[in-house]
Symmetry: C2
Subunit: 191 residues, 2 copies
C-alpha cells in the first residue's frame, strides 16, 4: 500500500473512484492559492506546495468533487472554473525491485484553474494556504512533474492529458498527449 | 453488482481504474465507425449502437487505453486523436428502491474522436462494426444520454464534462460543465 499525491492511500480502498482526484489552482490576479503541506505527519506531500483538492466520493462527477473539495479546504465557493487537463500520476515505490510484472499505482488528477469565487478564506486542516505570485511558484519545493503542468496551465489553452511516472520522488517518464517529453523537462522540448 | 455501459461489471473489481473507460468515435469523412452490440448474451448494451473502447488496465493513461482498445476492437492504429470530454455515467438499477443512502455506480468515460489511423478493419468480438453517416447516428437505438454528447461532439470544440444519471434505462439527470440540462434534452436548452 502506498500513499499518493493528495495524501491518502491508493490501495485497499473500494473500487468507486478512489484513485480519482481533483487539483485546483485558484487565481487572484497574478497569484495562485497554494497549499503548503506542513500540518500532517506521515504526509507524502510533507513540505511540498500543491493546489487544493482531493479524492472523488461515490457518485461524484469531476465538478462535484471540485466544488466540495475547494469549499472544504478553503471556505471558498467557486462560481466558475476551467477544466484544464488530466494528469495520470503513476507511482512505483523506491523500494520496489523493477520487474515486468510490477504495475505502478495510478492516480488520475483532474486539473482546474478558477478565478471566480465567493466567500472568505478559512484555515485548512491539510496545510497552510498562501497566495503566491505565479512567477514565484516554480521556485517552491514541488513535485518535479508539477513544473510541467504548471507551465502548461500558463501557456496552453487547449485541454491536455499528461502522464507522469515516478519512482519514489524521481520523475522517470512524462508523456504529453501521447508524445514523450525529454527529461529533465525544459519547455517545448519533445522527443 | 451491476453491468456498465461497456459491458463488464463495475463492482467487485480491483481498485485500479476499473470504472475508467475510453469511448472513441472514429471518423471517415461524414461517417462514424459504430459498434452494434449484437454478439454477446447478457450484454447491458445488447442491440444498442456505441463507439469502440473499453476499460483502463493498470498503469494506463487515457491515451494508453484508447490506443490499445481501438486496436483490439478494430485492428486500426490511431495516429492522432482528439480528447473531447469526460462523461460521468451514473447508474442506479431499476430494482433499487430510492433511498438517500444509495450511491449510484459510476463509470468515467473518456470520450475521443479520431480521423487519422492506419491498418485494416478487422471483425470485433463485441459486436458488428459499421460505418454510419453522422446524420443517421441519432436515429439508431442509443443510450438516451449518448444523443447529448454526440451532439456536443459535432457542435462544440471545447472540452466538456457531462454527468449523466440513469435509473435503469431512463436518463434522470444531465449536467453539462456544472449546469443542469432540461430533460428530455433538446439542443441548447439549459435551465
Amino acid at each position: 500500500m502506498a500513499e499518493t499525491r493528495l495524501g491518502t492511500r491508493i490501495n485497499g480502498r473500494n473500487a468507486m473512484g478512489s484513485n480519482l482526484t481533483t487539483l485546483c489552482y485558484i487565481e487572484r490576479g497574478d497569484e495562485y492559492l497554494m497549499l503548503h503541506r506542513i500540518k500532517k505527519e506521515n504526509d507524502v506531500n510533507r513540505d511540498k506546495w500543491i493546489g487544493v483538492g482531493g479524492h472523488f466520493e461515490k457518485g461524484e462527477s469531476p465538478e462535484d468533487c471540485l466544488l466540495r473539495e475547494v469549499y472544504e479546504e478553503t471556505g471558498l465557493t467557486l462560481k466558475s472554473w476551467r477544466f484544464r487537463g488530466i494528469v495520470t500520476f503513476c507511482f512505483t515505490p523506491e523500494t520496489e525491485k523493477p520487474t515486468d510484472a510490477y504495475q505502478p499505482l495510478c492516480e488520475y488528477m483532474h486539473l482546474y484553474t478558477a478565478s471566480d469565487y465567493e466567500g472568505k478564506l478559512t484555515p485548512c486542516d491539510e496545510g497552510e494556504l498562501v497566495w503566491v505570485r505565479k512567477d514565484d511558484v516554480l521556485r517552491l519545493p514541488l513535485w518535479e512533474g508539477d513544473r510541467i503542468f504548471l507551465r502548461l496551465l500558463r501557456g496552453q489553452n487547449s485541454f491536455f492529458s499528461l502522464k507522469l511516472s515516478y519512482r519514489g520522488d524521481c520523475l522517470t517518464e512524462a508523456v504529453l498527449d501521447g508524445i514523450h517529453l525529454q527529461l529533465p523537462y525544459h519547455e517545448q522540448t519533445a522527443v
